[in-house]
Structures are given as structure tokens and as C-alpha cells.
């Protein structure tokens, strides 16, 4: 399950893929069956080599603890990861992630979850780190140093569930139908350039960020090197990972708004910048010059979830489909309208966002 030898020879993941997201802005709980049925409708956008879900609001009883989801190849990996986690974290509760035996999911990893907070008396290498940096550092440490172990989710009151299979089968395995969340993202994968493996399925997550992606990040090489300079190590053998870490860097660490981060990912063209009024022209010129290495080239439709809400974005010439639909307090984002109609036949409004223009839907406080 760990990235194979010479994983860096694998460059990127060209995909058909399907994405689906739904948010209830008033934090009404949406059953897991909703994203499952949406994804099942887009079954043919994937090929059975990756499916996954991210759910927000599913751990209210541990809402102030980091929920670490761990997948391990074998018992030894689980034991080693546990030792490391206990050294660095105060664990309030831990348990196997509930799963179901299903005929189609073969050879799954061992999956475990911890609800934990950083220890004040942790080993010296993490002493004094701000809490969230501490968690990021530990995720990177486990993913790069514990053979056979992967942290695939590390946010508060949220969790990712993903693996190799069609999304509806992965949902069956992880019992996704038993969760209720106010925000869901989901993914159906069609990997072509890189292997389909459990850790490489979407969503990719870090802290409470989760991302699902249809497309290909052609700029993966430069993005990865830039992230490396900023202490993010790409270990997942697929391009989408860089988006998760860039989100953390741009929004959490550098304090950019999600809208500005969107303009780093999908900047306006230079000819458009030329036509802007002075203030905008200066802003977008500065943004492109400062964050040129963070720009995402290539086709993408991405959905991002975090504690604030749901955020959809296309590449700037819209090489992948994305549709937004609204119904009451709910907003859906999907590769295909049919997936939305499957779970919500009557919609107030359906529209396709403009290329490079983010659609940001916030949860009410």
C-alpha cells in the first residue's frame, strides 16, 4: 500500500472521474445514501480503481479532537503507527473503523481511527509547533516513515472513507450509509497513468481540508517541488495530493481567502489582466508573480470541503464538466446533472459555473 519503489517516475493521473458534493448551509444532516446514490448514477465515469467520500459533522461526540483515520497493510504497521501516535498525541478514544464484509472489496487494509490532541510533552522535534502544524508534521511523519501505514484523514469532526473499488462498493465496505453529515464530497476514479491503490483514491485530505478532483494536474512536477520547499512531502503517487497541500499552505498558512487561492490555481489570462482596472491589475499581477509555482495547469474540476463549507472550481478553460444545483438550503456540485436529479429530482436552480470562477458555499455559523 505504501508508494512503490521509484514512485516519482509516476507523474500524474489522467482521469475521466466523477465528482459529487452536497452541503446543507444550515447544517441539516444529509444521510450517506445521498452521495452514494449520486455516485452510483455516475458509475461509468470510473473504472473500479478508486472511490471515496469525505463527511463533515460525523463525530459530534469528539468534535474538538483530531480524527486520525489510519490504513495499514498489516498488523505490524498498525502497531508501529500506534506507538508513534501515542508518543505525540493524547488519545481520548480509538477503535477500528467500522467495516462490512463485501464480496467485491478484496484484500482491504486494516483501518483504525484515533480521536486525539497533541501532547504538550511530545518528543522534541514537535515541541512548540502550533497545533495544526503539529498535526500536519505527524501525518507526514507516519506517511513517510512507518512502513505500510497511512493516515488518510486528520481533521476535526470529519472523516474520509476511500479505497480501491467503485464508490458504491467502497461505501458498502465503510458503511458510509450509516453516517449523517452536513457536507459531503465524493469521488469516482478512472486512473490511467498511476496505479489504483487505497491511499491514492480520493478524497485527499489534510486537517479538515478534503479534495476530490476530476482531471489531471499537468503542473504536478513544479507544484510538488514548490510544496517540498514548504515542508509538504508528496507520498501518494498522484497529482491531486498537491492541491490538498497547496490549500493548506495558501489558505491556512498564508491567509489567502478561498477566492484568492482559486485565482492562484486558475489565474486570469495575461490579456484579461491587461484589461482590468489598475487595482485589480496590480493585484492579479502580484498574485501570478508570487504564486506562479502554485498555479495548477491542466484540466480540472475540483470540489473542496473544509470546516467553512463547500468550494468548487474549474480550470480556466473548463476542460472538465462541473454543474451547480440549488434546492432550499442545499447546494449540490457534480460532474453530471443526472447525479443530482437522482437524489433531488426537483431543483430551484441549475447552472454551470464559469471557467476559473470559484463557487464558494459557506455553512451558516
Amino acid at each position: 500500500m505504501k508508494a512503490p519503489e521509484r514512485y516519482y517516475d509516476f507523474q500524474k493521473d489522467i482521469s475521466g472521474c466523477g465528482v459529487f458534493g452536497v452541503i446543507d448551509t444550515k447544517r441539516g444532516l444529509i444521510p450517506g445514501q445521498v452521495p452514494i446514490d449520486g455516485m452510483a448514477c455516475m458509475h461509468d465515469r470510473g473504472n473500479g480503481l478508486g472511490g471515496g467520500f469525505a463527511a463533515y459533522g460525523i463525530y459530534p461526540e469528539h468534535a474538538d479532537k483530531y480524527a486520525l483515520h489510519l490504513m495499514c497493510d498489516h498488523q505490524q504497521a498498525l502497531t508501529s503507527a500506534r506507538e508513534l501516535i501515542l508518543k505525540y498525541f493524547e488519545v481520548e478514544h480509538d477503535e477500528p473503523i467500522p467495516t462490512r464484509q463485501t464480496p467485491v472489496i478484496s484484500n482491504p487494509p486494516l483501518v483504525w481511527r484515533y480521536f486525539a490532541t497533541p501532547r504538550a510533552d511530545c518528543p522534541a522535534d514537535c515541541q512548540g509547533l502550533p497545533e495544526e502544524d503539529f498535526v500536519v508534521a505527524l501525518v507526514m511523519k507516519i506517511n513517510t516513515t512507518v512502513p505500510g501505514a497511512f493516515v488518510f484523514s486528520s481533521g476535526k469532526n470529519m472523516g474520509a472513507f476511500k479505497g480501491v473499488g467503485y464508490p458504491e462498493d467502497i461505501a458498502d465496505f465503510f458503511r458510509v450509509d450509516e453516517y449523517f453529515a452536513y457536507l459531503w464530497t465524493a469521488h469516482n476514479r478512472f486512473p490511467t497513468n498511476t496505479p489504483g491503490w487505497w491511499g491514492g483514491a480520493h478524497p485527499f485530505t489534510l486537517l479538515d481540508w478534503s479534495i476530490v478532483h476530476n482531471g489531471e494536474i499537468s503542473s504536478y512536477g513544479i507544484n510538488r517541488r514548490w510544496l517540498c520547499e514548504n515542508d509538504y512531502l508528496c507520498t501518494m503517487m498522484t497529482d491531486t495530493e498537491v492541491v490538498a497541500y497547496e490549500l493548506d499552505l495558501l489558505v491556512r498558512k498564508h491567509g489567502l481567502s478561498r477566492r484568492m487561492a482559486s485565482k492562484v490555481f486558475a489565474p486570469p489570462f495575461w490579456d484579461e489582466i491587461e484589461r482590468m482596472p489598475d487595482k485589480e491589475r496590480n493585484l492579479y499581477t502580484a498574485l501570478r508573480m508570487t504564486y506562479g509555482s502554485g498555479m495548477l495547469n491542466g484540466p480540472f474540476a475540483i470540489l473542496v470541503g473544509n470546516k467553512d463549507g463547500l468550494w468548487g472550481l474549474n480550470d480556466r478553460i473548463k476542460l472538465r464538466p462541473l454543474l451547480v444545483a440549488e434546492q432550499g438550503d442545499k447546494v449540490f456540485m457534480s460532474s453530471e446533472e443526472s447525479a443530482v436529479r437522482t437524489v433531488c429530482p426537483q431543483l430551484d436552480r441549475v447552472w454551470m459555473p464559469k471557467a476559473g470562477e470559484p463557487v464558494i458555499v459557506d455553512l451558516e455559523a
Partner: protein, 254 residues
């Protein structure tokens, strides 16, 4: 002497996988059925794809990708929106969508007509071409995304910009007709010069153009129950390449 009665086959698509659903349609076609009403369609791909002949379809719901791809002659009415790739490489026939269109409507279309009531996505009419007496036509009642008529080699695109969900958006995105070397794009009202792809120019329409537009608009208005006069209440602009072969010298200058 046998009598033939025209009867419409009614199929319910609820919960049906696209393969089985299309097999049912094919089987009925083999039995001689020419008229279909498809109810509760939701995301089933390839409906009426590759059909040749004078078929009539009424589709209630939301057909999936590549509706009527490679079709030759079918007349299809969709009461609702459509997804991506409607009329992909279609050869002849007519598709009327009483709703919104997705990306790449009429991709490489070679004949027939596609009418969309409201907005469409990106790259609509990409690689459209005409051949002998075939002159494909796309009419868009709302607004279009970027690269409308990209690499267009023939046929007509008529963009009205009237029945749109996007009040603030320009009538078309950037790169209108990028790489276009044949055919014509008519736009109701004007298009800012910077939205045009390279090598193109926009001009007011001529009386001959207006004759063509009038014929198309009247048919479009009839099919979608719209007021043609309202559509004519504004002038039209015509977008064409500067020259006969704008890219003739691009790779091997003569």
C-alpha cells in the same frame, strides 16, 4: 391487406442502466417502431445514438452524455435539460431542447439542427463542418461559454443571448471561433472585439444573412413556442474569418 397504425412506443427509464435501455429501443426499431416516448430518463447515455432513419423521440427527463451521437435523421425533443456532447458528429435530423445544454453541444456536427432554449456550456459547435448540401445549424437561446465554434469549418451557429440564467455574463466567453476557417456565427447584438478568436472579424449582417437568420429563427420560435418578433427586435452581427484560408500559411508558408 394489412393496415399499419402509427403507434408510439412508451418506455420508462426509471432505474434502467443505459445499455439495457438502449437495447430495448434497438429491439423496437428492429420491429418497425419509429415513434418513441421516453419517460423518467435520468443520465442514460447514448440515447438514439447511431440511428439512421426517420424516427421521432420525445424525451421526458434528462438524457445522459452523447445524446443522438452519429444520428442520421431522427427528430428528438427533450423536455428538460441535456448533458454533454449532444449531437456529437450527428449527420442529419433535429434536436430540440426545451432547457439548458452542456459542454460540446454539436461536436463535429455535419448536418441537421440543434436548438437549445437557454444557456450552453463550453466548446459548443467545435469542429462543425458542412458537406455538399448538408449545412448543420445550432441555435442557442441563452448565452455560451468559451470557445463557441472553435475550429469551425462549416455550418451556422446562431447565438441569441436572450433566455439566460446568467444576467451579468457576457453573451459569449473568450476565444469565440478560435481556429475557425469556415461557416458563420451570427450573434444577436454585439460581441466585444477581445472575445473574438484571432483571425476573425465581426460585421453587421447583410440582407442575405438576414434571410437565412429569419428562416432559422422562425423555425426555432415555432419549435420552442417563442415570439420570433421579439428575437428580431435587435440587430445581428456576423462573425467570419478575415480570409478564405486563414491558417493556410501557418505551418508551411507559400
Amino acid at each position: 391487406m394489412s393496415t399499419t397504425t402509427t403507434s408510439t412506443a412508451v418506455l420508462d427509464a426509471t432505474g434502467q442502466y443505459y445499455k439495457e435501455f438502449n437495447e430495448q429501443i434497438r429491439e423496437l426499431v428492429r420491429q418497425g417502431v419509429t415513434e418513441f416516448r421516453l419517460d423518467n430518463v435520468n443520465g442514460q447515455r447514448y440515447i438514439a445514438t447511431g440511428l439512421e432513419g426517420d424516427f421521432i423521440f420525445e424525451i421526458n427527463g434528462l438524457p445522459g452524455q452523447d445524446l443522438a451521437a452519429f444520428t442520421r435523421g431522427a427528430r428528438i425533443r427533450v423536455n428538460g435539460n441535456v448533458q454533454d456532447g449532444v449531437g456529437n458528429t450527428m449527420d442529419d435530423g433535429k434536436i430540440v431542447v426545451d432547457g439548458m445544454g452542456g459542454d460540446v453541444v454539436g461536436y463535429a456536427m455535419r448536418g441537421g439542427a440543434i436548438y437549445i432554449r437557454t444557456d450552453v456550456g463550453y466548446r459548443v459547435g467545435i469542429h462543425m463542418k458542412s458537406y455538399l448540401d448538408r449545412r448543420p445549424t445550432i441555435v442557442i437561446g441563452g448565452k455560451a461559454g468559451d470557445f463557441l465554434g472553435e475550429y469551425m469549418a462549416g455550418g451556422i451557429i446562431l447565438l441569441l443571448g436572450m433566455f439566460s440564467d446568467k444576467s451579468d455574463a457576457p453573451i459569449t466567453g473568450r476565444g469565440l471561433g478560435t481556429g475557425m476557417h469556415g461557416g458563420v456565427i451570427y450573434v444577436r447584438g454585439n460581441v466585444p472585439e477581445h472575445q473574438l478568436g484571432p483571425g476573425l472579424r465581426s460585421r453587421p449582417v447583410t440582407p442575405e444573412d438576414m434571410q437565412v437568420i429569419e428562416g432559422i429563427v422562425r423555425d426555432y420560435a415555432t419549435e420552442l413556442n417563442l415570439d420570433a418578433e421579439e428575437i428580431f427586435s435587435e440587430s445581428f452581427t456576423k462573425i467570419r474569418p478575415f480570409s478564405h484560408r486563414p491558417y493556410g500559411n501557418m505551418y508551411v508558408p507559400t
